[in-house]
């Protein structure tokens, strides 16, 4: 089921309203077809709410029958308008039910690093079939962009029909905490993916994918520390030219993959100039260890 179908239905109803005012009786066949489509859409939403035996369904069946009767004869604008308004009312009722059936999850991120600002996170609620990455397999193009430049946009777009997703609003500085809220209809096998780039690296990302959170009861929360991965898409040269973060201000994304192995693995940390790597733009403060991003998920 797509997210916010109510918006789509409202737009359709609004467009229909325009049609009715602009056209005369000759175009009523088109209007009837449009209303019939709206009826079909509403039936889908009612089925998704598992309310096939409800009053809603009866009302819809009634309106559908009226529509069929109108199709058989010449129909006035007023009759169509009246039918359209009744469908509109039914749509609003269904949208209210959908909103009430949404489950809200609050996802709190805390940057526990010494000096690694975290790029705006990608947050996805999804089913158990989806994985944002697999250790040992090459990173997707979207993950490469996230890990090299910090941008979560393409990684989010790659997710096929997630229940809900969003990109974070701002950089999360060391020591800072932020909470994002995502909602969806509750599923027993609901899973969460989070990914965010420590910006003073070549292609690191802190994340978790396929974290099963469907078992949380209302009011429950669960916490963990996320692994820091190496996307395997860019050599860890730590040079000023290749690190996008404030330590260097260099290039973020580069389409070429020149890392040791083109596969996602756990990050081995950064060396830094203070540890003898003269060409590194990083100093010892930019080093990190596993656990630098803490996450808490709360089900409201």
């Amino acid at each position: 089921m797509t997210l916010y179908p109510g918006i789509r239905l409202s737009l359709a109803a609004g467009a229909l309203g325009l049609l009715l005012t602009a056209c005369g009786g000759d175009d009523n066949d088109d209007d009837i077809t449009a209303l019939q489509q709206q009826v079909a859409d509403l039936q889908t939403e009612i089925d998704a709410l598992a309310m096939a035996d409800s009053d809603l369904s009866t009302t819809l069946a009634d309106l559908s029958a009226q529509l069929e009767a109108l199709e058989a004869r010449s129909v006035s604008d007023e009759e169509l308008a009246a039918l359209s308004m009744e469908l509109e009312a039914l749509t609003e009722h269904i949208e209210a039910l959908q909103l009430a059936s949404q489950t809200w999850y609050e996802i709190t991120l805390t940057n526990l690093s010494a000096n690694q600002p975290l790029a705006p996170a990608a947050l996805i609620l999804h089913d158990m079939d989806y994985r944002g990455w697999m250790a040992g397999m090459p990173a997707s193009a979207g993950l490469e962009l996230l890990a090299e430049s910090g941008s979560p946009a393409d990684f989010l777009a790659e997710a096929d029909s997630p229940y809900a997703s969003m990109g974070g609003g701002a950089i999360l500085m060391p020591g800072e905490q932020v909470t994002y809220s995502l909602s969806t209809n509750w599923q027993p096998y609901l899973a969460l993916t989070v990914a965010s780039m420590p910006v003073n690296t070549n292609d690191a990302f802190a994340g978790v994918t396929g974290w099963a959170i469907g078992g949380l009861l209302p009011g429950d929360s669960v916490s963990t520390h996320l692994h820091v991965y190496d996307a395997g898409t860019e050599a860890n040269t730590e040079t000023a030219e290749t690190i996008p973060g404030p330590a260097a201000g260099g290039e973020g994304y580069n389409a070429a993959r020149d890392d040791l192995v083109d596969a996602v693995a756990l990050h081995r940390g950064v060396v830094s100039a203070d540890d003898g790597y003269a060409e590194s733009a990083l100093d010892q403060s930019h080093r990190f260890d596993q656990g630098m991003l803490a996450v808490t998920v709360l089900r409201r």
Binding site: A135, D230, V261, A265, R268, D275, G276, D289
Partner: protein
């Protein structure tokens, strides 16, 4: 596991068939980008034998594995104690970011699962799992493993073919992506017990410097391995 054996005993007395053979699929993932696992030993055993104990001295057999990759002694110990083993599932090295699958390992009614493999290039580092309790419920379990230091050799980080216990040095750098002529990071092992490896230091000098390893390649952060264990 004592409880489990007691239950099995009770069932046997009641005249019920009691053996519950646990058959496992085990996927081993090398989570590093620059470290190789030498031939892996996976062992199923009871509580009276272990491959290693963190905080205790390494056995001679553990040292042989950690310093030179030789699993024969550890394997023989497990078999002699009535355990079961899978040796060298990857038929050689398991490279960076590589995965090997072990299918249908029959652990009988043995209670624990353990794993060791030497980490290359290190002096006496190894990836290890010590006595993970094998679940009775079918399902899929994920376990992350850390890198240990056997405590039996100084971490000089010199690649010189030295792999026999008592011979300093790193036997080989399989990636051939380090340096040479290293003067030695240290001559001293400060903790002679099995402990969590502090990591390779490395340097960025191809010729000379303290280490023959590359600080940009041969480092890691724990965990170094991921096991996905399916109990059938």
């Amino acid at each position: 596991m004592k409880l489990r054996h007691t239950l099995l005993g009770l069932l046997a007395m009641a005249g019920t068939a009691s053996t519950q053979a646990e058959v496992l699929d085990i996927e081993v993932v090398n989570l590093t980008h620059g470290i190789y696992f030498t031939p892996i030993l996976v062992a199923a055993h009871d509580g009276d034998v272990a491959l290693f104990e963190p905080g205790a001295s390494a056995s001679a057999e553990l040292a042989a594995m950690a310093e030179g990759g030789d699993i024969s002694g550890l394997s023989a110990n497990v078999m002699a104690a009535g355990g079961a083993v899978v040796e060298n599932p990857a038929e050689g090295l398991l490279g960076p970011a590589a995965t090997v699958m072990i299918e249908d390992m029959d652990t009988g009614d043995l209670g624990y699962l353990s794993l060791t493999a030497m980490l290359l290039p290190t002096n006496d580092g190894f990836v290890g799992m010590n006595s993970w309790a094998i679940p009775e419920s079918p399902g899929t379990y994920t376990v992350y493993l850390n890198a240990y230091d056997a405590g039996t050799e100084a971490n000089d980080e010199i690649v010189n073919g030295g792999g026999m216990p008592g011979v300093p040095g790193i036997p080989v750098n399989p990636g051939e992506d380090g340096g040479s002529g290293g003067t030695g990071v240290t001559m001293e092992e400060t903790n002679p017990m099995v402990h969590i490896h502090r990591g390779n230091l490395g340097d960025t000098m191809a010729d000379g410097g303290p280490s023959d390893l590359d600080s940009r390649i041969h480092r890691w952060l724990n965990p170094v391995a991921k096991l996905i264990i399916t109990v059938e």
